[in-house]
Symmetry: C2
Subunit: 394 residues, 2 copies
């Protein structure tokens, strides 16, 4: 891909580029750019929301640039306040370390790790003295920390914001200086943090990074950004069958969005999907195609095809669809037993236990085991009990 | 002095005690308390404003308590934002070190340094790691840093506040934890910083310090707190004659205030002075008494008496007072040459230079030398040129 085409791809896949003209020139110079992406090891499971900037980083990599992946093992212990409604519990060093171990394998399904410079920010922050840090703080106005929209939202909601959280953007900014980033990638809610990196570079007379802001992936609930907290994720470690089933449960309005951000289909194919939907093609058929493309990204074509067949044989036969009763349930997470009782699929709690133990419960194509985690119920979720009983959540 | 009398003295000399009942009990326990006072070596000259908490610390010392004096050689490099209208220039380590050398001698005229635990806060902050500091920040709400009245005043005036300044109270608070302070002394504009020390002790489950807030000494301009920035100081290193002359230039309304805070006269003597003024005694006579008491505090009785005689022989003879012309001058700091020209005492600039070189210029009893510092002109200032020419500023 020529540098011109690559820049066009960047533009089409991002929400905002700062500064756009600067980045265009950097890319046209054909110099290998240092492209930074930071991830905090705050959860052991990465999901397709995390994958959006990772895919973009891979695109840079494929265009011959140097990917610099920062594992925020130091900052992860503070917790990025961006977009959060409450102060994050501070993780311990051993928690972040455990999470980090599971990261590389998951990230390796997207990035080429052999060509990636992986750094931990404890490398520089672990030995940083207070005096050095205060000198950094002197470069940042208190006002801009205070006026962050996420902080103000928390304060309006009567929740506290603590001083250490107001340091997060400073630390992330310094990461950029430490690795000499030419470009930083992040999602839209990271805007202030990434701009801080740009400003710090400029104030210290160092490299001034350009900023590529990427769209969010909306979660399975169709409302909130995909996140572990919202419990609306498709995880990188989900099986092909789970991925397929979960994509099938999204709102029709999100199909093109998932085609672009979850399946990471090329822009022209996404536009094709948009056209077909507009022309009146059955959204369900298009969704099946997107679901297969998502599963294929992470599990290969053969697995994706099998996931599709399994889904169709269970849920898609016309007769079943017609016979499927609707059930109205508050959309939230349920314990498996509780769910069986709520839809009146079991005559008693002990009956429900027996059903669970027998593997009779499936939600959106995923088998629910006894003692397993809670199940998120969404509009359109399909609940199966045994071979023949199906409910669709209204 | 009994512990009860000592507590009564504290109450009479302070503006606020937090918590008063707690401190009363601590003092009644007859345990030797650790009493903390912090000073930042941001200027080589201490003045009578600094002396107020130092005198109070001496009173604690005399009552058998342990004085802990903290030289803020680390925090001095940030600059206490309290009550400041602009971000303070950050001092270098060598500047704070140079200032610190002059401190001990000056402080030694008030405190008994042999019985004082003198600490520098670089002792703990110099080796503090970023991670430890962030753990401290997690104990403080962003809101209370933001809402500081001094910060808000600066922001309203369109001036910036930087993040490192919002750390000052955290650092001062940690000083209290580091030295296990039972009590901290400070002036009223230090209220938030001292309360932060109280809160941090409580949040860390350590000693909870009580707080004794002292009144300000108003400067020679009669308006602002005595401070180097306002240029309205009586310095600890001023000669007896300068101290005397400067006190003679204060507004009559401040006489009792100076009796209490500058001369540190016992409360009953201050009350006596208030009564005499109220009864119509000539304020000038009372002021002479207070001026002598101030000079005596720092230079002994003999020197103070000489300063008084010198002042009276120059300025106080009725005939001169009557013959002294008034001059209206904008009240500000003047270069010596400029001043001679402004009052038309010299026929030309070269004439003014000659007068200066000859030692002909005195303001408020202080000889002004050529190339010396600027001279603050106040309402009531007396300017002498040569032996016989006097002007009083209206």
């Amino acid at each position: 891909m020529g540098s011109k085409d690559f820049f066009a791809l960047l533009v089409s896949r991002s929400v905002e580029i700062i500064d756009r003209e600067g980045l265009r020139r950097k890319i046209a110079s054909r110099r290998s750019l240092r492209v930074k992406l930071g991830v905090d090891p705050t959860t052991p499971d990465l999901h397709l929301g995390h994958a959006v900037p990772l895919r973009m980083l891979r695109s840079f990599q494929d265009a011959g640039h140097q990917a610099v992946l920062i594992i925020g093992d130091f900052t992860g212990q503070i917790g990025d306040p961006s977009g959060k409604l409450a102060a994050r519990r501070q993780l311990t060093a051993s928690e972040t370390k455990a999470n980090e171990r599971t990261y590389r394998a998951q990230i390796g399904t997207i990035l080429d790790l052999r060509r990636t410079e992986v750094r931990r920010n404890s490398e520089w922050f672990g030995r940083m003295r207070l005096a050095e840090f205060l000198a950094l703080l002197a470069k940042f106005p208190l006002k801009s920390a205070w006026e962050r929209e996420d902080f103000q939202a928390r304060l309006r909601a009567g929740r506290a914001v603590y001083l250490h959280e107001a340091m997060y953007h400073v630390l992330q900014a310094y990461d950029s200086v430490a690795v000499r980033a030419d470009v930083e990638l992040g999602s839209l809610d990271q805007r202030l943090n990434l701009l801080a990196g740009r400003e710090l570079g400029s104030r210290l007379g160092r490299i001034v990074q350009d900023v590529v802001l990427l769209p969010y992936l909306i979660g399975l609930d169709g409302r909130e950004k995909m996140s572990k907290t919202a419990g609306n994720t498709i995880n990188l470690r989900d099986s092909a069958r789970d991925m397929f089933g979960k994509v099938m449960s999204i709102l029709d309005a999100l199909i093109a969005n998932y085609a672009a951000l979850a399946a990471w289909l090329p822009p022209e194919r996404v536009r094709g999907i948009e056209r077909r939907l507009k022309a009146g093609e059955n959204p369900r058929d298009v969704k099946i195609e997107v679901a297969e493309a998502v599963a294929e990204r992470y599990h290969g074509a053969a697995e994706a095809r099998r996931a599709r067949s399994a889904f169709l044989s269970l849920f898609s036969k016309r007769e079943r669809d017609v016979a499927m009763p609707g059930v109205t349930l508050p959309r939230r997470a349920y314990a498996p037993l509780e769910l069986l009782v709520a839809i009146h699929a079991a005559r008693s709690v002990s009956d429900a236990r027996r059903l669970l133990r027998g593997g009779a419960l499936e939600v959106d194509g995923e088998r629910i085991v006894p003692g397993g985690r809670t199940v998120l119920i969404r509009r359109g979720s399909v609940i199966r009990v045994g071979k023949k009983r199906f409910w669709r959540v209204r």
